[in-house]
């Protein structure tokens, strides 16, 4: 009877000793040349303690900047940048220069103006669809302080709805702030998206 045979088969077995030898894959192809993993990716921010009032001021500006995007106050948003201010979203985290490597966004104030005017034009056809965004910011860390300038790091998440589809973007902002006429303005906003190199379902129409 099969039952007896099954019982017999289950009555004995082997124990594989963990210390044996090469693994199966190693014995076939020990040559891992060229296949080593990158040990680390991305960026770990610094954190410098600064006067709480200044930190609070920058946090408020960051929250307002995100709210301006969600509320489509494009002009107000642009006014937060210095005249030579730049909004830059690199294509890859290792990029260091917005002018010599391909970017997703690489815009000075004049190019921001082109984008803003387009978004407001009555014949910006793609703007016909229902479209909204929502930003959420993480803790702001201060990376560098000099007289009249501060660099901050802020993690963010952004959700977007277009027609009935929701997309999700996230990453970090690195703002370089400078003080001009008693106001803190953005000279460079670097945006590293964790999904910058994933495929885009449709494109990005406004700053993130």
């Amino acid at each position: 009877m099969a039952q007896t045979e099954v019982k017999q088969a289950l009555g004995s077995g082997v124990i594989i000793e963990a210390v044996q030898s090469l693994t199966g894959a190693e014995s076939i192809a020990p040559d891992h040349m060229g296949r080593s993993r990158e040990s680390a990716v991305g960026y770990i921010p610094q954190d410098i303690t600064i006067e709480p009032a200044l930190l609070r001021q920058l946090e408020v500006l960051l929250a307002q900047q995100a709210a301006m995007l969600d509320a489509r106050r494009w002009s107000q948003w642009m006014e937060m940048f210095t005249e030579d201010g730049v909004y830059w979203m690199p294509a890859a985290p290792e990029q260091t220069d917005w002018e010599s490597q391909p970017s997703i966004f690489a815009e000075d104030k004049l190019l921001m103006q082109v984008r803003a005017n387009r978004l407001l034009h009555p014949n910006a056809w793609s703007q016909a669809a229902q479209w909204a965004t929502h930003h959420l910011l993480g803790t702001t860390l201060v990376e560098q302080v000099q007289s009249g300038s501060v660099s901050t790091y802020t993690a963010f998440q952004m959700m977007e709805v277009r027609r009935d589809k929701v997309r999700h973007f996230g990453g970090s902002y690195r703002h370089h702030w400078v003080q001009q006429d008693g106001q803190w303005k953005i000279r460079l906003q670097r945006v590293d998206m964790f999904n910058a190199q994933a495929s885009y379902d449709y494109v990005i129409q406004a700053w993130i």
Partner: protein, 439 residues
């Protein structure tokens, strides 16, 4: 599968809406167009070292392009012959000296030949043997390279690569000839954008000169306003404003930009941006070109009137700015485009940066141009679900084009000869399908 009546669906002046929406027609397109034609795999500079690979899709087939130890570039089906697992799991990388399957460690040389199978005695007495080609990773039927651009065809028969490209091979000549050493090198960033629409909308749109001043009015007009503002204060504006502002030209101006339409559905939209400024950077570059090629050749190379060249059915080559967009259809209503930029070897950095602005402003995922194109095609995809009208019209300037030696020259830039010529090629590919009813 029911017979598909091509004469009914594709007429010289109009096509039936189902060619954009129907799954059965899409499947036929994959089999009889994409899986037989020469399809672009990548540039040889993407796989410089032995073991370096790039994965890609040809029609519905997952493929991998890999550099072998002997320097040859192979294009293989990305599938383990054992149980079907894909051997490469990333877009690109280096697989070392062999491919190793993550499931049961079957391993393969870089030309696809099986290297080893674990516990091989387990196959004694079965019909499987390592001498059997079915134990190897299958190879693309044909692989060829034109000036560093690697193509594969999954069909053993058909025209050679150079015959397939025909006069449209000027796309790659125009790109490479602009380098003082005659070569380009890939910039290692690939933007990937998905359109929720049929691949044919992209191909038609590329040479559709009637749409830019309508679809891209908002961006063109906004760029022109800023461009004029800069000109007023500084005398001249950077060229990249011009990239955008020319979209807002008049209907008459667009009607004067000629299209040239080749056999196999390929075509050219002639130049309209005037990309030969006389600034010091350009002068330095042109001097290098003259040193390399002499004055006459340099003039020939730098004055070709090309905005972009289409290699039907999937590639748009913007040779003067060294950019390509390659389509990988995913379904009747879904298409991936892979967007690459190339550097002219031996040309000054300023020339690269100037072209990069086009990559950033027009071809990046934050493009201010394609935002409105993709919107149009999505709405077209939805519109063609409508029973309100079965037909898509390509009547514009029909009979008004000039034919010479099989090449169709539009006498009006906005002639829909572009679409008529593309469907002529489409029809001839599709007629080879057993379920298509021949004329």
């Amino acid at each position: 599968m029911p017979a598909i009546d091509l004469d009914h669906l594709v007429q010289p002046d109009r096509v039936h809406r189902s060619v954009y929406t129907d799954q059965a027609i899409f499947d036929m397109e994959m089999e009889h167009i994409f899986e037989t034609a020469w399809v672009y795999c990548g540039h040889e500079s993407q796989v410089k070292e032995p073991g370096q690979f790039q994965t890609l899709q040809i029609g519905r087939q997952p493929m991998v392009m890999v550099r072998a130890k002997d320097g040859q570039i192979n294009v293989l089906y990305n599938r383990c012959p054992h149980r079907g697992v894909q051997l490469c799991g990333s877009h690109s990388g280096n697989t070392g000296g062999s491919f190793v399957c993550p499931y049961h460690a079957w391993s393969f040389h870089l030309d696809g030949k099986v290297k080893a199978i674990p516990l091989i005695q387990g196959y004694d007495g079965t019909r499987l043997s390592t001498d059997d080609p079915d134990c190897n990773m299958a190879r693309a039927a044909r692989v060829d390279n034109y000036r560093g651009f690697v193509f594969a065809s999954l069909s053993a028969e058909g025209p050679s690569l150079v015959e397939f490209l025909g006069d449209a091979k000027v796309a790659f000549d125009d790109m490479c000839d602009r380098s003082p050493v005659g070569e380009v090198e890939v910039v290692p960033v690939c933007h990937r954008v998905v359109q929720q629409s049929n691949w044919k909308f992209f191909m038609e749109n590329q040479l559709d000169a009637l749409h830019p001043s309508v679809t891209h009015q908002s961006t063109g007009v906004s760029a022109r306003r800023v461009e004029n503002q800069i000109k007023k204060t500084q005398g001249s504006a950077p060229l990249h404003y011009h990239y955008l502002s020319t979209f807002a030209s008049s209907f008459d101006q667009w009607d004067s930009v000629q299209t040239v339409n080749f056999p196999h559905g390929h075509g050219i939209l002639k130049a309209y941006m005037g990309l030969r400024p006389t600034d010091p950077d350009t002068q330095e570059y042109e001097a290098l070109m003259r040193q390399a090629y002499g004055t006459e050749k340099t003039e020939e190379f730098l004055s070709r009137s090309i905005h972009h060249v289409l290699i039907y059915p999937y590639l748009s080559v913007q040779s003067p700015l060294q950019q390509i967009r390659c389509l990988r259809p995913l379904g009747p209503d879904k298409t991936l485009s892979e967007i690459w930029h190339f550097r002219l070897k031996g040309a000054p950095e300023a020339i690269y940066r100037r072209a990069m602005w086009y990559y950033n402003l027009v071809n990046s995922p934050a493009t201010m141009i394609n935002a409105d194109d993709l919107e149009n095609w999505t709405r077209a995809q939805w519109g063609l679900q409508s029973k309100g009208n079965d037909w898509v019209s390509f009547h514009r300037n029909m009979g008004g084009d000039t034919e010479k030696d099989g090449v169709l020259y539009s006498n009006n830039g906005t002639s829909e000869v572009v679409m008529r010529n593309q469907f002529k090629a489409w029809r001839s590919y599709m007629l080879k399908a057993p379920t298509a009813q021949p004329a």
